[in-house]
Subunit: 394 residues, 2 copies
């Protein structure tokens, strides 16, 4: 019996998820029963015939459009978007039909993640690339963990929250569940920072372009958020590191405890690369215009690294032995994989553990983008389906 | 209800598997019901109390010892090793008790892998680091694939056959199952070759040690098989590449077909680094003694690579666009991750796909060793257990 899927958030990633789930290989395994954007929800009768991805997506009116009074498709019905109601209706339908149901959250809304405890404890499985539920308050995180203990609780898969489709969360989980002890995690976890520092600070190169120049090009090429300060604050990296840190802490260990990050990622020491004078500037364009006034600070940092034969990288570090997690600029020698092997906007993560002690386990590759993020989500959905009896062969 | 586990092959890896399965976190999920070495099998009543790993392992007499007439443990009984009988008995017991049962094959015997089709089709799940079943004749491989179609068939997990605990098979599977197209796979898949060429051919270094000298040191440090020719033949790499290639071919694709490797890894074009004159030499010690006579050939290869600013690496390559798979020496520029990022005896694999097209998805780390191999096996066993209803939380 196919798994039912309700998708909340139908942006670039959500659309890709629908496309991948509708492939000839996967469409027999999944039935998309609801699509929601910020304004509307379309519910689709699971018994109605399966539609191609484009037709399915066309059933949902744009959030800017009005709610249609009647449906163009006999199996589709409309309502105003209300994620809590979606969760309750799905849980009810799932219990009635005894069908495994997956809530895929492709929004970046905290409010949707606050529904995870309810969803999980009422038997829905949650699959998401949305970092907010796992990197905000410890209270919400604990509620999510506890929801797993409810009778008939759903599953939680979050591979795509860190590194998109890269096998980071699953690998960490395999190490932890088989009893390995993680001693250190270190990674370039932001595609934006990866691009910026791969350009700004190259191994074996004296000097280089101005920091403001690199940020300007990154923005022009779409490697940054519309307001580059949203990247330079480091909070995206801090969120990812909070997730990795909490997953480690959720497992028994004889090593020093990591902080619980009561307020989530904001409790994690994070170096902001936003110059003090530009903090709070509302316009991204103005920010980029004024950034050259601060190039000297970055030139100095680069020169200091060069003197040691090193390059600058913005990394997240969990040092288990010291019991700390932090984000910021670090210096790496030219032969280090973060210096030599990294290119473009790739992410890289090095896992050091008792078993991987001589040299770390390294995962590297594109860590952002709709297709690879959707892949992380859909691979997780397949795992949920497999755990509820669906067979996918070698 | 815990999964039952029957382990065949209790060498270094098998022992580690028992230790990891017996951890406080996992022992509630698994019950080891049988242990076999090449001579004996001990069957353990699942209802008898769970034993610590060391006590459990002590129940199995050494293969050099005689079969004990009676057991020191009330729940244990002995028989002469007969893997086919073990499979039949397990299948029977599993059906009777409706208990999910995993056959873990930690041997390197072809004969055990020939039992996989029977095991799988009679409902046992197979988890193994043994490459032979998946890299020998295409006939056996097809039988394994077909066994998955039997009603109530067991599952097959083989992460540890390539790169030990590194997330290679699972990542490849996630890409394939979500509809990505693999265009190229390239990797240093042998710890022995990795060590040898990381020492023999370093980026930015003129010349270097003699090939025979590096092999001698590798042998002394236990990085090679007792007879180094077993590594230098390339057949271990060819087996791994056969497995990756077959997993790709088992999925629908619009790209050129890869060969089916009718005879398995021997059908895969593989460059042997055994000098012609030393082929068939029975003694590993004599082989190492005579290897210096052939250093010039390797010096020449290294000098040629140096002239192009490159290093030598022994790699496996699947080039999907050209429809070929092959193993042998290739040259890589100094800035390539295979040259710059690789160290020690690490494995590295680069997956190029439609989604990972600008830069590949890279996995790197220790690709051999009892602990990390056992980790790959046990992580797979957890996945099988989860797919049969066992709950393991975040």
């Amino acid at each position: 019996m196919p798994c039912h899927v309700a998708l909340i958030g139908v942006g670039l990633v959500g659309k890709q998820v629908v496309h991948q789930l509708s492939s000839p290989a996967l469409s027999p395994l999944f039935r998309i029963v609801s699509l929601s954007n910020s304004k509307h929800t379309v519910s689709i009768e699971p018994s109605s015939s399966t539609l191609p991805a484009e037709d399915l997506l066309a059933l949902l009116p744009a959030s800017s459009a009005a709610l249609p009074s009647s449906s163009s498709h006999p199996g589709a019905s409309y309502s105003s978007a209300n994620p809590e109601q979606v969760v309750k209706d799905l849980a009810h339908a799932s219990k009635q039909s005894k069908t495994s149901t997956i809530l895929i959250d492709c929004t970046s809304d905290l409010s949707v993640t606050q529904l995870y405890p309810l969803a999980i404890s009422s038997g829905l499985s949650v699959v998401t690339p949305n970092k907010k539920g796992f990197s905000s308050s410890n209270e919400l995180w604990q509620q999510i963990l506890e929801a797993q203990n409810a009778p008939g609780a759903g599953l939680v898969y979050l591979e795509a929250t860190v590194g998109a489709g890269l096998p980071i969360i699953s690998t960490l989980r395999d190490l932890l569940k088989t009893g390995d002890e993680i001693t250190k995690i270190e990674g370039v976890l932001s595609g934006t920072f990866s691009y910026i520092f791969n350009e700004f600070s190259k191994p074996g190169v004296k000097g280089g372009p101005k920091f403001s120049e690199v940020v300007k090009i990154a923005k022009a090429n779409g490697y940054t958020e519309p307001h580059p300060a949203d990247d330079l604050s480091g909070s995206d990296v801090a969120r990812k590191l909070t997730i990795l840190s909490r997953l480690i802490s959720a497992n028994p260990s004889s090593l020093p405890a990591l902080p619980s990050f009561a307020e989530g990622y904001v409790s994690l020491p994070t170096q902001s690369l936003i110059p003090k004078a530009l903090e709070g500037l509302a316009s991204g364009t103005e920010f980029v215009e004024k950034l050259p006034e601060h190039d000297e600070e970055f030139d100095t940092l680069r020169a200091e690294a060069e003197k040691e034969g090193k390059v600058l990288r913005y990394v997240g570090v969990i040092d288990r032995m010291a019991g700390i997690a932090k984000c910021g600029l670090e210096k790496y020698p030219a032969a280090h994989p973060f210096a030599s092997s990294l290119s473009g906007a790739d992410n890289i993560l090095a896992l050091h553990s008792h078993r991987y002690s001589n040299s770390p386990l390294i995962v590297q590759g594109a860590g952002a983008g709709a297709e690879v993020t959707a892949m992380g989500v859909v691979a997780d959905a397949i795992k949920v389906a497999e755990r509820t009896g669906v067979r996918v062969h070698l």
